[in-house]
């Protein structure tokens, strides 16, 4: 990959600083993984609970390197026609219809079937050439002149067969199309794969990737994130809010609040002009944090205790 901003990735620390300038606060592990991925030309497999900024990492990296981001969302039943390439069938059909007469001209005067076929062969595989090829995300990433950031989102949602299909791309940055042959990347893209761990990925896939696990951020990092995203929020409330969330994550809930929910909550509190967290405010805004009625019911009677613990922590 042709890296435009080489100076920005000269060390993990510089990467971290530049990410921060872009509003993405990250841990050392994240910065190290990006550093290694850029220099070793390896894909990164990013795992972690939902809402900790896995997809965001790819977006910010593309911003950092000023490279285009090509995103492919995986889902069950995704196949290579949707991920890699497809022929433009409509165009092919239309052209065969339009060229019928032309073909008649070409064939005129040919003696016997053999000669006709030989003449036809002189035209090559016009209907299976580049003009009729519809590139999909993977092919686009391979064809990008200056390299690209390829984000394969939620790979765990795709089928196992699709995972196997990706192996060639991930290790050699090339892909085989039966009609066209092997297509090699013009410039190796940086690949991010994200997974929510809904199923175990195969060892073959894991072997080809760097593995990055993003946990929920520590309190200091989360405070930094809030400062970056909602700078207007006052210091005391911010601390209170982060402590409360971290207490909440300790509870056995169906879905614990992620970073994105913390940010939403912070924005809401700002909008509501709250300057001190108390029982009533939490109760009215709890549905921003918790997405299951069961969870809300479980947390409501505990609010006071959580708040006390959160205040003590600070």
């Amino acid at each position: 990959m042709i890296i435009r901003n080489k100076d920005k990735i000269s060390s993990p620390d510089t990467i971290k600083e530049h990410f921060e300038a872009l509003g993405y606060i990250c841990s050392d592990a994240i910065a190290t993984s990006v550093y290694l991925a850029c220099h070793l030309q390896k894909p990164i497999l990013v795992e972690g609970p939902p809402g900790v900024g896995k997809t965001e990492l790819a977006k910010k990296t593309s911003e950092l390197l000023a490279a285009p981001l090509i995103r492919m969302q995986c889902y069950e039943g995704l196949d290579e026609a949707k991920a890699l390439y497809e022929w433009k069938y409509g165009k092919q059909l239309l052209y065969t219809q339009l060229l019928k007469d032309q073909l008649g001209d070409v064939m005129r005067g040919a003696k016997g079937l053999d000669e006709s076929v030989t003449r036809l062969h002189q035209f090559g595989d016009i209907f299976y050439s580049d003009e009729f090829l519809e590139p999909r995300p993977l092919l686009e990433a391979l064809r990008a002149e200056d390299g690209a950031i390829l984000l394969i989102d939620e790979i765990d949602k795709a089928d196992q067969e699709f995972e196997a299909f990706l192996l060639e791309l991930l290790s050699d940055y090339q892909i085989s199309i039966p009609e066209l042959g092997t297509i090699k990347a013009k410039s190796n893209p940086i690949v991010f794969l994200t997974s929510n761990n809904t199923r175990e990925l195969s060892d073959a896939l894991k072997r080809r990737c760097l593995h990055l696990y993003i946990p929920f951020p520590s309190k200091t990092i989360e405070q930094k994130i809030i400062s970056a995203q909602v700078p207007e929020l006052n210091e005391q409330l911010k601390q209170q809010l982060v402590s409360f969330i971290s207490e909440l994550r300790e509870m056995a809930l169906k879905k614990v609040p992620a970073v994105s929910e913390t940010i939403d909550w912070a924005r809401a509190l700002l909008l509501l002009n709250v300057d001190n967290l108390d029982h009533d405010w939490i109760k009215t805004t709890l549905n921003l944090l918790l997405k299951f009625q069961d969870d809300i019911e479980a947390v409501e009677p505990e609010i006071d205790n959580l708040l006390k613990a959160a205040n003590k922590q600070r």
Binding site: P12, D28, A29, T32, S33, Y35, L36, H39, L40, K42, L45, E47, A81, E86, W87, Y89, Q92, L93, T96, F127, D159, Q160, E161, R199, E200, D203, K206, R207, R208, C209, L210, H211, L212, Y213
Partner: protein, 481 residues
């Protein structure tokens, strides 16, 4: 550096991490890129390339700390011996970075020896006359050189092959010998004869016991790094072979984990098969695309898929007195199986039969097992009655896609076996497995009526260890897919 990383990776593999050679190469490249002076960065880089799972990552981090604290002299790899001060500094830096106890211990040891240095200056001429190489080394107090010697001698004495903790003392002794301890001892004895040398002798003895301790630590560390995993592996594979009846209580928990492992393996096999199962519909898009070249004539039809009916499984488990010792495990497996396969109905019986599918689904494993054993176990077996109940409960639901599995010893206390019901079951399902915890030789002995049921079973197997269970169910799953 390659050697160091190679050993490190070997240690990781011993701890059960599946590390391929491709990953080893990646790790080497990463280490070259980030350098080895920044311990936290190196740890993260190696972690990312070598461990691909959260639990593996935790093991990796732990072993990294253990391992690289032993290689405090990593920087000296170039062969450039460091002065003691520099070594201490490196050691301190290392212990700060890795923050492990042993490193600071070693640093403390080297500090204490440098404190003694003034004493040494009192007896320089005597020290200069020392003949044995080890004594000279000890007097020079070059800890890093000693550590290198220990590592070298340790490899020769087989420190990495220690399989049991009881071997540690003898290997320690061997390493001491390899470093020239006998010569040192001899010299010490000679020196001790003359009074004027007493200070020197005392110092040397003190240093020697320090060294001994250091070697012992080293051997122990090697044992922990390289071989602890081995004995655990041995234990697990033995456990798989042990008959279910003779497993003692302390192994219960481990067994449960193995059962879950086996069930999980079955699950992943099964889920893969399920994904192949698709629906039988014309795939319009693919059909049109495949036929574009034929001027739109539909030569090849492409189908979304074909429908395969997934099999239902019914498992009947004998929990009566005669099989009480294995019942718990059969139930445990039954529980895991139901967790894992989508359509399992579970039944238990001793005299009366009851369906426990709901119970398994609702309750935690321990609770469910306890309740079953409490309610239905430990009464005399009556296969006839149980099968009559089964007829009522489930016979109507058995069709040719159902697999029926019986876990029991067919010991019927001399009463009527109600063979007719079993015959009907077989007629309907054609796939009936009988897994008997007793060996084939004891079938039909005493009150066992195995042979009466035998004609109506498609498969009869002895099943009294986890390995049996695993194999039988595995092959059955393959066939039923």
């Amino acid at each position: 550096m390659q050697k160091v990383l190679g050993d490190f990776i070997y240690a990781l593999r011993q701890a059960g991490l599946p590390i391929s050679s491709a990953e080893t190469l990646d790790a080497l490249k990463a280490a070259q890129l980030v350098g080895i002076d920044n311990a936290p960065l190196l740890k993260q880089s190696l972690g990312m390339t070598l461990s691909k799972r959260l639990e593996h990552r935790l093991i990796h981090d732990q072993i990294f700390d253990q391992y690289f604290n032993g290689y405090g002299h990593l920087q000296e790899e170039g062969g450039k011996p460091l002065s003691q001060e520099a070594y201490e500094k490196a050691e301190n830096a290392e212990s700060e970075a890795v923050n492990s106890e042993a490193a600071s211990e070693q640093a403390a040891a080297s500090t204490s020896s440098s404190v003694e240095n003034p004493n040494t200056s009192l007896i320089p001429e005597a020290a200069a006359n020392l003949s044995s190489p080890l004594a000279q080394q000890l007097m020079a107090g070059d800890m890093s050189a000693l550590q290198v010697m220990i590592t070298g001698a340790g490899a020769g004495a087989g420190a990495q092959e220690v399989t049991f903790s009881t071997q540690i003392p003898i290997v320690t002794y061997r390493v001491m010998q390899a470093m020239g301890d006998s010569e040192l001892q001899q010299e010490l004895q000679e020196l001790a004869k003359e009074d004027e040398n007493s200070a020197l002798v005392q110092l040397l003895r003190q240093r020697r016991s320090q060294l001994q301790q250091q070697i012992r630590d080293y051997v122990e560390q090697q044992y922990l790094l390289f071989n602890q995993g081995e004995s655990q592996k041995l234990r697990e594979s033995n456990l798989q072979k042990i008959r279910l009846t003779s497993v003692d209580h302390s192994n219960y928990k481990r067994m449960g984990e193995l059962v879950r492992k086996a069930a999980k393996r079955l699950a992943s096999m099964h889920s893969r098969r399920r994904r192949i199962t698709k629906r039988g519909m014309l795939d319009v898009r693919r059909t049109v695309s495949a036929n574009a070249a034929f001027d739109g004539f539909l030569f090849h039809t492409k189908w979304k898929s074909t429908r395969i009916e997934r099999p239902k499984v019914m498992v009947i488990c004998d929990v009566s007195g005669s099989v009480s010792s294995v019942a718990r495990f059969l139930l445990l497996f039954l529980y895991c199986l139901q967790d894992v396969l989508p359509k399992v109905r579970s039944f238990v019986f001793s005299a009366e039969m009851a369906e426990v599918t709901e119970l398994f689904a609702k309750k935690e494993m321990d609770e469910a097992l306890a309740e079953i054993l409490h309610r239905w176990a430990n009464s005399p077996t009556h296969y006839g009655k149980a099968l009559a109940d089964f007829e009522q409960l489930a016979l109507a639901d058995i069709d040719n896609k159902t697999t029926v599995i019986m876990l029991g010893d067919a010991r019927n206390n001399g009463s009527d076996g109600n063979i007719a019901v079993w015959e009907e079951v077989y007629r309907r399902s054609q796939r009936v497995l009988w897994l008997n915890p007793e060996g084939q030789t004891s079938w039909d002995t005493g009150d066992s009526i195995m042979s009466q049921y035998a004609p109506y079973c498609s498969l009869m197997e002895t099943c009294n260890s986890l390995r049996d269970l695993n194999r039988i169910l595995g092959s059955e799953l393959k066939r039923s897919g």
